[in-house]
């Protein structure tokens, strides 16, 4: 037993100073009004959490995070599942397809954000120029500056970057399904859709759940791509909790308040993880 626990030492050496300590420190700081520079801190207890509850920007940021989660679970994972089915059926070019799907993940999130910003540019970007050339658009459109649409484009950029990763996970899940089960269903007269919904999908439950958890946690913590693409703007229209907390800390000098926002974010992410464990435990 003693030797076994020694194996944890390298992980703990990383975990304690770089994760646990900052986390505890962040929770501690969230009880103070502090600008991040001076040594003077004013104790406000849970005051910051009460203020966050009433803060309209925090509320809308949470809403945007929730929308991202919903979109990711509904559309990104469905698309990943369909793509995985498609790739698994390919007799040729499957490796090329996997490579192509994974390429966006190789780019840094900041590069992705800037790339999509340029792609969507109404005057210089290829998407709108192309659509105008085809006669589909008559005038340049400010898609990213329109608060009604900007979050949608952010979601497109995020999905473009991450869908390949989910496809790979699901392909691994598909490979674990015994062929005989599917073949037996076919012999019994199940159609293509029937096999997909009644055999493939239920047998991939664990993989789908894992993809779901990664999507939920990823959507909660999202920061870099959004910050590079829109900076959470215009006027908080694409603000997420992480971008808002960053701005509170470093643009507005409200370090204590920002720590409270980060703590809420941590609580939500942690909660998602616990919920996943509970659900998995229950499903056996």
């Amino acid at each position: 037993m003693k030797t076994r626990s020694l194996y944890c030492v390298p992980a703990l050496l990383f975990f304690l100073p770089f994760l646990l300590f900052p986390l505890v420190d962040c929770l501690g700081l969230s009880r103070f009004v502090w600008d991040g520079i001076t040594q003077d801190k004013v104790f406000v207890g849970l005051g910051h959490y009460r203020a966050l509850w009433l803060d309209p920007v925090m509320r809308s940021s949470l809403g945007h995070n929730a929308l991202l989660i919903l979109f990711s679970l509904l559309f990104q994972l469905s698309l990943a599942f369909l793509l995985a089915l498609f790739v698994s059926k390919l007799s040729r070019g499957a490796r090329l397809m996997k490579g192509a799907l994974l390429t966006p993940l190789m780019l840094s999130p900041v590069a992705c954000g800037l790339l999509w910003g340029d792609l969507l540019d109404p005057h210089l970007g290829p998407i709108q120029t192309g659509l105008r050339g085809l006669g589909i658009l008559s005038r340049p459109q400010g898609w990213l500056s329109d608060p009604g649409w900007s979050l949608f484009w952010i979601f497109i950029a995020i999905s473009w970057r991450h869908v390949g990763f989910h496809v790979l996970l699901m392909l691994a899940g598909l490979e674990r399904i015994p062929r005989q089960t599917e073949e037996a269903a076919r012999v019994d007269g199940a159609g293509r859709l029937g096999v997909t919904f009644h055999i493939t999908l239920p047998l991939m439950g664990k993989t789908v759940a894992l993809c779901g958890l990664l999507s939920v946690v990823g959507s909660l913590k999202y920061f870099d791509l959004v910050y590079a693409m829109t900076r959470g703007g215009p006027a908080h229209a694409t603000e997420l909790v992480a971008t808002y907390a960053y701005k509170l800390a470093f643009d507005q000098s409200r370090m204590g308040y920002a720590c409270a926002a980060f703590s809420v974010l941590f609580g939500l992410t942690f909660g998602a993880g616990v919920l996943y464990r509970l659900l998995r435990g229950r499903s056996g």
Partner: protein
């Protein structure tokens, strides 16, 4: 199988920890060798040439004059700089010398006791060389918290060839500007390129409009007490933004485009004008030198009957502060002297930037637009600091957000004025609590 492997584990662990410790120990060992020389750590934000090279050359000259001193120069990109500096100062690890923009952000560090008062180190001759308007943004009373090196002024840049071909004269006042904008829009030309993703370029329009209407004294009064922001003239200034937007002044994605994108629209002839700081000249020289022949500039349009038509909006783009934790302040100040020397600042001007000092000789290699910028700066009645550099950080962010909101029609001018006053009152009560 497991049992055989298990005894190896402690050995691996011990080796791992010992390895870590030896790395830490070796880091410590190298320290005394460096400490033979006095070491100064210097953070700045010039990450590309020519300005980066100019700073490096100044540091080399300083090191040649002070053989016992070694300067560790750390160029950091503009965006992460604020974050890094705040974390370093908050953790008590401030660099000895660091870049600052003057104004309210510097005042914040001064109030926290993080920067040294340099007034005792500066002689009259040196002080007299520095522009008083720039010095004012680095001082509080008699105390000097930074030495300014570069100033910026905001002007209306225009594509001379494009305006001529459209038969539009460079605008002088707000109403003629509005007429030109409407005409250019009909000709399918983007009248004004605006990259307002970060809010400050749009804030230039508002800041200038308010300054033009109120004049320096009245504006300062409001800036000093932003709880009084619900003022008719403030509302009128927000209204001017709306008028410009409704006239079709800007490209469609002005609130999502950054300064990079807006200047590309301007440099490639897709837009006729842009409101930007003097640094646009340095960007044009570097990125699109062919456009220099078309590039011209004039003052921001005047407002009929306004009290502040002689004001120029601008500020300190770069000043250098010495941290209060610096052990060798007098030597650090000598580096600041070299960074603001005639030789350094002449090279600075030739790169198309405006030095924060009077030069003995006008630079020979500067582009013609540099002389126009210098003239506007020299002839100005007063220099008004960008509002977001005058406000405390929290209000500065609110200011930029509200300008985005007014421009996208999400907030009325009255609503914006009210929201800003409310934020100012909230900040006041929170600061009152701290005190």
């Amino acid at each position: 199988m497991t049992r055989r492997v298990a005894p190896v584990a402690p050995v691996v662990m011990v080796a791992f920890v010992a390895g870590l410790l030896s790395v830490v120990a070796s880091c410590k060992k190298t320290k005394p060798a460096l400490e033979e020389k006095t070491k100064l750590v210097f953070w700045h934000i010039q990450t590309s040439d020519p300005t980066k090279g100019i700073i490096d050359a100044a540091v080399k000259r300083f090191e040649a004059k002070h053989p016992g001193v070694q300067v560790e120069v750390v160029p950091i990109k503009n965006d992460p700089y604020k974050t890094k500096l705040r974390v370093a100062v908050g953790a008590g690890q401030a660099p000895d010398i660091f870049h600052t923009w003057g104004g309210a952000p510097l005042a914040e560090y001064a109030e926290a006791g993080a920067v040294a008062d340099l007034s005792g180190f500066m002689d009259d001759e040196w002080r007299a060389r520095l522009l008083p308007s720039a010095m004012a943004l680095c001082q509080k009373g008699e105390a000097v918290y930074a030495v300014p090196q570069d100033v910026g002024v905001v002007v209306l840049w225009f594509n001379e060839t494009l305006l001529k071909s459209e038969g539009v004269p460079p605008p002088e006042d707000f109403s003629s500007w509005l007429e030109s904008i409407k005409y250019l829009r009909q000709q399918d030309v983007i009248p004004v390129a605006l990259g307002n993703k970060e809010g400050w370029p749009g804030a230039f329009l508002f800041d200038y409009s308010l300054e033009r209407m109120l004049g320096r004294e009245e504006t300062s009064r409001l800036l000093n007490d932003p709880t009084q922001w619900e003022d008719d003239r403030v509302i009128e200034a927000y209204g001017k933004l709306q008028t410009l937007k409704d006239a079709g002044a800007f490209q469609e994605d002005f609130n999502a485009a950054g300064y990079d994108q807006s200047r590309m629209l301007f440099f490639t002839g897709r837009s006729a004008m842009t409101i930007m700081g003097s640094w646009l000249l340095a960007h044009c020289t570097k990125e699109m030198p062919d456009f220099l022949k078309d590039l011209s500039l004039t003052r921001f349009p005047q407002v009929e009957g306004g009290a502040g038509n002689g004001t120029v909006l601008g500020g300190v783009n770069s000043a250098f502060a010495v941290s209060s934790s610096c052990q060798e302040k007098s030597i650090a100040v000598e580096l600041l002297r070299e960074l603001t020397s005639e030789e350094t600042l002449t090279a600075w001007a030739e790169a198309g930037r405006l030095p924060a000092a009077f030069l003995d000789e006008p630079p020979t290699g500067a582009p013609r637009q540099w002389l126009d910028l210098k003239k506007i700066l020299d002839e100005a009645d007063s220099l008004a600091c960008y509002f977001d550099q005058s406000f405390p950080p929290r209000l500065a962010e609110k200011h930029k957000e509200l300008i985005q909101r007014v421009l996208m029609g999400d907030q009325t001018p009255e609503g914006a004025a009210k929201a800003f006053a409310q934020e100012a009152k909230a900040l006041q009560s929170e600061t009152g609590m701290e005190e």
